[in-house]
Subunit: 209 residues, 2 copies
DNA sequence: GGACGATTAGTGGATAACCACTATAATCTT
DNA sequence: AAGATTATAGTGGTTATCCACTAATCGTCC
């Protein structure tokens, strides 16, 4: 018996590679090949494939959006999502939604094949490199940042917006001295040194704040 | 007559797509397929292909590094580089080095094929989407930045790397006073105000420097 | 040769940020 | 109740940056 699959990815060359590899799996037939989220969603509803292999980052609907929508309509389709970026939020979302496979786009071809086979059997499958990523991101996501108090984080954010201590003091209705004191504490907690080191740090890391 | 090609990209699935598409070009034969920069470099030297299709972002040597090295050894190999990111610096570097083709990884398959054909004929070929990128970046690229002198730009870059005036002075073998003077001039030209305004500006705009 | 711009270097002053303390009140923990 | 943490506020000192000047040197263009 042949399983059916649909593939969606907005990068044509990468999609070509995907399709080529999946075509090599004997008991699998690709019934549709899409390049954007909405088309992929409609195609899944129309063809009800056994498995859908979706890029997360796509125009229109993301791969995760598609999973969410399809799964809310009691479908038996199983999902494997692909992503370029080792993003913890994506992974967490994917796990919550209940996708069966989570792969990094730079993974080996053998890993893709074995993942598809596992998922078809009903097993879950997560990329190698993701667990490492997890440990890593837990580590390099600045454990120091977690040590900061709520007020300190607020101030750090405002610093990242290139506000001066005087401006921050006005915004928070406290004395400039207090802000200055918080700055000192933050600098100490983060282990920074030198003039403007806090400003440099804040601007460079404002994405994680 | 058949042309020879080598392909290098560290993403296995994408590389598979690339190779698959290029195999469809009749007068082209792929003589090697690599997954890292150093291997690709050595392979090009060994096989002297007519054309090399290289990812820019690769472990070890980047695609551009490879071009630079190979071209300094009077090779006839023509280069097409691929990149995921619409990065102006990459493009400028590529043009300086003299690559024949510059493609974005999300480009269409037809564009890849026509680019290879053009380059084999000796024509240059740049991705659609790149010029747009250029106009865009050309517009919002701060006309004031163009007013800066070469030395001022160097100093601005170093400031963006969060170097202090004293450190910059040491690096450039000039007096700290001179660096300070340049800072003043830059601040004036950019119309900045307030303490650390230059540092803030430099860090926030370092991508365009 | 003269005008101009760029680079170099200096003086002097203002201020924001850093750094190290002390200290009080409020809150939370044990 | 005692202790810890947090937020608040202040004093005093150092320093990097900013700002406004002046000035010498060098190369380029007319």
């Amino acid at each position: 018996m042949k399983y059916t699959a649909i593939v969606a990815d907005d990068h044509p060359i990468f999609r070509k590679g995907l399709v080529e590899i999946l075509s090599g799996i004997e008991n699998l037939e690709i019934v549709a090949e899409l390049s954007d989220g909405l088309q992929a969603y409609q195609s899944i509803l129309a063809k009800r494939p056994d498995i859908a292999i979706l890029d997360i980052e796509m125009p229109g609907l993301s791969g995760l959006d598609i999973c969410r929508k399809v799964m809310s309509e009691k479908s038996d389709t199983k999902f494997i999502v692909l992503t370029m970026h080792r993003d913890k939020n994506f992974f967490n979302d994917a796990m919550e939604i209940g996708v069966m496979g989570y792969l990094l786009k730079d993974n080996a071809i053998t890993e893709l094949i074995s993942c598809v086979e596992k998922v078809l059997k009903g097993e879950k499958c997560v990329s190698r490199g993701i667990e490492n990523l997890f440990e890593l991101s837990g580590q390099n996501n600045m454990p120091e940042l977690a040590n900061l108090t709520a007020t300190e984080k607020v101030i750090l954010k405002l610093i990242a917006e290139t506000k001066t201590s005087a401006e921050i003091a006005q915004l928070l209705f406290v004395s400039p001295n207090t802000v200055d004191n918080h700055r000192s504490n933050i600098v100490k907690k983060l282990g920074l040194e030198g003039k403007n080191s806090l400003l440099k740090f804040a601007i460079q890391h404002k994405e994680l704040l």
